[in-house]
Symmetry: C2
Amino acid sequence: MNRPQRAVASHPKGIVPAYRGLYQRLRSEILSGRLAAGARLPSSRTLASQLGVARGTVEVAYQMLAGEGYTIGDGARGTIVNPALPRGKRPRSYETAAGQSDEAQPEAPVHATPLLFQPGLPALDAFPRKAWARIAVAVSRQLDFEQMAFPGHLDPMGYAPLRRAIASYLRIARDISCSADQILITAGFQGALGLIVQTLLEPDDKVWVEDPGYFQAHWLLRGMPLRMVGVRVDEEGLDVGAGTATHSDAALALVTTTHQFPLGMTLPVDRRLALLDWADRQRAWIVEDDYDCEVHHRGLPPPALKSLDRNGRVLYVGSFSKVLFPGLRVGYVVVPAALSDRFAHAARAAQPAPALMTQKLVEGFMSGGHFARHLSRMRSLYTERCKALATALEDAMPQRLQISLTDGGMHFVARLRGKTSAAEIVTRLRAKNVGPSALSLCALRGGGPNGLIVGYPNVAKEDAASAAQRMLAAMR
Amino acid sequence: MNRPQRAVASHPKGIVPAYRGLYQRLRSEILSGRLAAGARLPSSRTLASQLGVARGTVEVAYQMLAGEGYTIGDGARGTIVNPALPRGKRPRSYETAAGQSDEAQPEAPVHATPLLFQPGLPALDAFPRKAWARIAVAVSRQLDFEQMAFPGHLDPMGYAPLRRAIASYLRIARDISCSADQILITAGFQGALGLIVQTLLEPDDKVWVEDPGYFQAHWLLRGMPLRMVGVRVDEEGLDVGAGTATHSDAALALVTTTHQFPLGMTLPVDRRLALLDWADRQRAWIVEDDYDCEVHHRGLPPPALKSLDRNGRVLYVGSFSKVLFPGLRVGYVVVPAALSDRFAHAARAAQPAPALMTQKLVEGFMSGGHFARHLSRMRSLYTERCKALATALEDAMPQRLQISLTDGGMHFVARLRGKTSAAEIVTRLRAKNVGPSALSLCALRGGGPNGLIVGYPNVAKEDAASAAQRMLAAMR
């Protein structure tokens, strides 16, 4: 067996003794605060082995640092960065918390609480944390080959038991007849849309988006080599007729059907059929973004557009961001059966599925029955909170706000009376940690109605009146 | 407040009584095995509320199913799918395992063990599972607003403490001078490359890839609207001169510098400088894929190409797939400081960072000192296993294999003597669960040397001889 003896690339800096270079690097880490006060340095043996230098080299560097007061000994526990250094801060350590107690207290997060009325968040107080943590603990301890392996060695479409659970849920709850083979697990809505565009579209293809529509989707598509065209939304939802009249040659239409984002209306069946008819004729694709269908206030949510799709033109995109929580970043696409192989191929390269650990967690939550129970509880809680807050806001500001509730969704729109723009009001409110968004965020072009997108799920019924007063005070 | 009373979309099927439709859906779930034998049905109240139908409707459907033997009562615990049904299988339940014992046994995974010699996997037996699980448990229990919130509400580049930990590690271990502001957390290498292409390239731009090179990157780029051009790899690595001679107008070069994939040589410094020079002149980008730099057998790995980058042309891509495990799907890019804002903007739309839970886990592992210790242990273990297996294979098959070890990497290449193609041998070996890959997998065009990519990390030193014998037997 041969070992080539050729020189490897070396750093073309001047020659600096190894201990001095190491000392300088560590010192600058400490001075910048990147090695925080109190942080433990690796043992000289560990660091020497890691860097491939002699242990003595590390020891000299450590002695220099200690001699200048950058580090101090911490008894048998080794060397730490001097906690008395002015720029330092105490490092975070999960280790300590976990080691000392099973009831580790969460540290103060960067954003400790949601803003009042922040849209896009489910009711965080209603999430079954204990059941979730119990499943997470079990999954974390199952660090077997399957969890550790390269996802490409597993099913590129995602964790099969989760795909079966989703297919079963969609058949029962959304009237979508699909098999697990058609389900592709993605990193949320973004991952789904990215993969769809990459798999089905050509550069410069035209894509319909709703105007106003989901701003994240607008941002995402702007970053792609496509022509995004806005199709107007009227009081019934996407104006399919306007779309076909002006941009009939589009390759894809992105549409929110159950609850239009942001306005909340349900796309009526005549428009659904017209949209499908256009896609069939044009051989175009429809991406149905059914982002919060589960939060419906009046009876059964209408069946998905996908359930009417006879010719396999609809890609149904769902997500756990709203029904569980957004930080989870797990979503899925139902792809037409004829495209399953094509998507499996694309998924093999792009690997859109999140870590198996995360997928197993969601699957455990579904198959343990927590998902169904959670949905059921959310449904009544949301209806109650939505009504209570809308009433309280109108009562508090009858001259300034007008709220028309729709049949569902995790926010409602409050139209603003008067001349002050929503953007200006939002700026004023944010200064007081009141966080609705301006409706204009969703408009592709300027104009459109003057209004606020108000997230209600995190306002308990009994707090609705005081929350409305807080907003009123902040608007002044 | 108004509630519009307009009709919502209704399903245009014939009218079927609600209980009968529900019965049919549930029955077909059970018959197909998608609702597995033993699976618990939601309570009639829960399902009724979830579907927005009367509870009586669900009860009638349940009675029909029970009457036909699809379900049975399970005492006070409700109704389950009849475990005696022939097509059923027992559902998995994390709940049960977690509830009964803290030492829950992992269930048999889909792929129970790696194939012998499977490339791309770190030594699974050497991973510090206990420390990892301890941190995972602590993170799972901290389900605070930060973890639950939409990632877009947080830093789009990723979890700041993890970015600081990575920047600090790169400065010390890879001689890369960068700040945490330049670190972008991604879903592994795939996520990183996808975002780079989307952010920096135009449709039809030319991209250099190594030939032979990393097949996953080839697959990924083929799915994008780009012109991928193969640049040959000779015995020193990427032939930069050949690239500039034929495709000087490329917009990006993707290169493995520390250990060329798959051949393992280190790109010498003259070629590094030539590559940088080309990028500077051409205003092209270099993506440095430093996928397994940490596994270096001879002293300190050479500094990264990025450390020589004076003009901000190099995007350094790293990953935890090799140093922790691939299933984790956490990687990162070091972007030139001048591009930080552009990438932050792109990341805001694309949200490439994995769930915060996963990022916190990695950060806890790094700041707890486990990462440094693990690297240090892996380094000596890998050198030992690599040598032992290469020797054993050459001893067992001196007429058929020739192995030239390089300075690092998680696999080695065994050249095949004789006329049988690697692809044919791989097929034969896979039938016996022996899993090296054919070198030809990495070639853009046919041809190239006939050889196998052998992953050695999961073969203990003392098992090397028997593993070699197993391969010899399987090759016959």
